[in-house]
Structure formats: structure tokens, C-alpha cells
Symmetry: C2
Subunit: 221 residues, 2 copies
């Protein structure tokens, strides 16, 4: 009785042309959300895929569903980067490498930036993945501080702020010099280094974890 259900098809498999178009939609969404952010319309995405809007709505009940389908896997990527970084020997270098890699992903995808720093889009799987990342990043930070590379007053909750800053530079300059964020991140990281007697005392305490969450809920991209 049970029909041969493909690896990712719980019900009836799609007709061949429909399956092809589903992939076209996802590829198009990846590109369009990446370039224009989540404010891009499904019309845009459909037409960029050479399809009509109706086709998109047949496959994904709402924009929200498409976003969720798109970004769950991309967030897993970042989680894996953090896991990898925790295995490295040099804790400071691991922290630096992770930061660069994450920034690399962020810089290339405006939609990813928006979904990482806002709670307005993406629920379920996306939220889970975010939650899973918190302890990883905390350990990464604490390890780098313990090893003496990262300044002692840095906090895990500063990480989203760091990506916020890099993201804002990307948005500001990508039309003119898409690599400029590297310059800013390099200067930022110089400021995060533990300097025996030199670093100025920070004039303000870090956010609490819940405050980060609240900020993500209030913030509009």
C-alpha cells in the first residue's frame, strides 16, 4: 500500500516539472532574499525564477513558510562553524576564525543577517537553531578569555552586536566596495584583544541573554 515515498517527500511525490520548479523557487529565493533582504516580495522571487506568483503560493502557503524553509539549513551551517571552532587548539585563534567565517556568511546574505538578528521572521526550526547556538558561542568566548587572547570584559552577548555592526557596514558600502567590512572587522577585533594594562575600562555592562532576545524582538531590519 505504502507508495515509494522519496527521502524528502512524506506524501505523494511532486510531478517532475513541479519538483523542478520548487527547486527553482528555492534557488531564486536564496538569491533574491540574499541581495534584497526579507522585504523582497514573492512576486520578485517568482519572476526571478521565471515563474508566476501563483506557482510560489501553490508550493509555500505563505512568505513565512518559504523563509523558514530557506534559512533553517543556513543557520545550521553557522552552528557547525561554532562546533568546529570549539575543537581547535588555539582558543583565541578559534574565536577569531569563527568570527570571520560567520561574518563572511552574514556579509553575503542580507536575508541571513535579518533572520539572525530579528525575531520577526522565522519561527520553529529557525528559533531552535538560534537557541542551540547560544551555549556554543558562550563556550567559545569563555575559552578565548581564559586563554588570555580575548579581553576579559567581553561577553557572549556582545557577539550579536558585533555582527550587527559588520552588517551595517555591509549594507552601507556593498554597492561601492563589497569587501570593506573586512577592514572594519579587523579594527574591531584589534579592540577585542587582551592588552595587559592598556585596554580602557568599558563604560557600560553587557546585555543579559534575555535582553538580547528582547532586542531581537523589537528590532526592525
Amino acid at each position: 500500500m505504502a507508495r515509494d515515498a522519496g527521502p524528502a517527500a512524506p506524501a505523494r511525490p511532486l510531478r517532475r516539472d513541479a519538483e523542478l520548479n520548487r527547486r527553482r523557487i528555492l534557488a531564486s529565493a536564496r538569491e533574491v532574499f540574499g541581495r534584497r533582504g526579507l522585504e523582497a516580495t514573492l512576486d520578485d522571487i517568482a519572476h526571478h525564477a521565471g515563474l508566476g506568483v501563483g506557482t510560489v503560493y501553490r508550493r509555500f502557503p505563505s512568505k513565512e513558510h518559504l523563509v523558514e524553509a530557506m534559512f533553517a539549513e543556513r543557520m545550521e551551517e553557522i552552528g557547525k562553524l561554532a562546533e568546529e571552532a570549539l575543537k581547535a587548539d588555539d582558543a583565541w585563534q578559534a574565536f577569531v576564525d569563527f568570527t570571520w567565517q560567520a561574518a563572511e556568511l552574514h556579509s553575503a546574505d542580507r536575508g541571513l543577517r535579518e533572520i539572525m538578528l530579528s525575531n520577526r521572521f522565522g519561527h520553529e526550526h529557525v528559533a531552535e537553531e538560534k537557541a542551540r547556538m547560544v551555549p556554543l558561542i558562550t563556550r567559545l568566548v569563555e575559552r578565548a578569555k581564559a586563554a588570555g587572547g580575548l579581553r576579559g570584559d567581553f561577553a557572549p552577548t556582545d557577539i550579536p552586536l558585533l555582527h550587527m555592526m559588520v552588517g551595517s557596514v555591509v549594507e552601507f558600502t556593498e554597492a561601492v566596495d563589497p569587501q570593506l567590512w573586512r577592514r572594519c572587522l579587523a579594527m574591531l577585533l584589534d579592540g577585542l584583544r587582551a592588552e595587559p594594562g592598556k585596554a580602557t575600562e568599558l563604560p557600560h555592562p553587557p546585555l543579559e541573554a534575555e535582553e538580547v532576545d528582547e532586542a531581537m524582538s523589537c528590532w526592525r531590519p
Copy 2:
């Protein structure tokens, strides 16, 4: 023949109630643009002043004119800060102080941030004031570098990026912890310090002045 024209009234002076309302509009605009940015509608500003939209349009021909009237003087403020900073003895400290003061103004006014970093709003006077500021800031930066406090590879065109970064943190966290930007700016400034052999070589050259202009024209707040 010449009627007694008040100090800021080239033609006939406004009726007393009208003048009062004009001030109410400016005060309301200052607050609403400051909180919600230039996307705030004139309806919002009018109602926040306890007036109707028509009254605002009678006094200011368009939103653009109101914006121009609002921000010209605020930009002059920043220009004066730079002039003051150029008079100070300690070049590095002057640079740091100016940066903190400018950030203070930016952090308190979303409209100001938008007008400083975008060319989409504000023409004439605002643009002049921006242009006037460029050589001041350039001198401030060069002086701080010559004195050995500021890292040698910093460029004057990095200043807008710095404010962009601080502004993005403000926007992200103001609902939760409106002073948090201070923490980020402190870390940033630590990264700008000249460190004899320590600072990493920056992986990317700075923007040219014209590129900053272009970025300001492309960028949407």
C-alpha cells in the same frame, strides 16, 4: 513702507497663534524624527503637536522643507564640535572626545543619523554643512595619527563607518538598554589606538571620499 520684520521673518510676521504653532511643529518634529527617524509621517508630527496636517503643510511646503529646517542647525553643532576639537592640545584625546561627542548626538536622534549618512534627504544647507565638515575631520584624523595616538592606517573616510556601526547598535538595543552603544564604541576606539607592533595589518584599503558620497546616495536607512 518696510514693515517691522522680525529677526527670522523676511515678510510679514506670523500671527501670534501661528508662530506658536510653528514652534510646536518644530519641537514635535524634533522629537518624532528623533525617535522614529525620517520615515515618520507629517500626520504623526502634526498630531503629536496637537495640530492637524493642514497646519503643518501651510507652514512647510513639503516634508523635505521641514527636514531641512530641522537639521541644518543640528549639523552645524557637529561642525562646531570638530572645530573645537582641532584647537585642543592632545591630538589623540581630541579625536576621541570628538568621536564620543558626535556619537552622543547621533545616538539621541535617529533622524540625525539618517540625514548624516544618507543623501536621500536634505539638500542645500544640509549638503553644504556636510561638505564643510570633511576637511575638518580630515585634519582631526591626520593630526591624531601624526601625534602617534591613532593607528597609521586609519583613514578619515572610516569616520562615517564608525558612526554607522554605533548607530546600528543604537537602533538594535535602544529599546532594551539605550546606553549600550557606549560599550561598543569603547571597544572600537581600543581598536583604533596605535599599538607599536601589535595591530594587525588591515586586510582592505579605505574608501575614497567620492565612494563615501556614492555610498550615502545608494544607502536606504
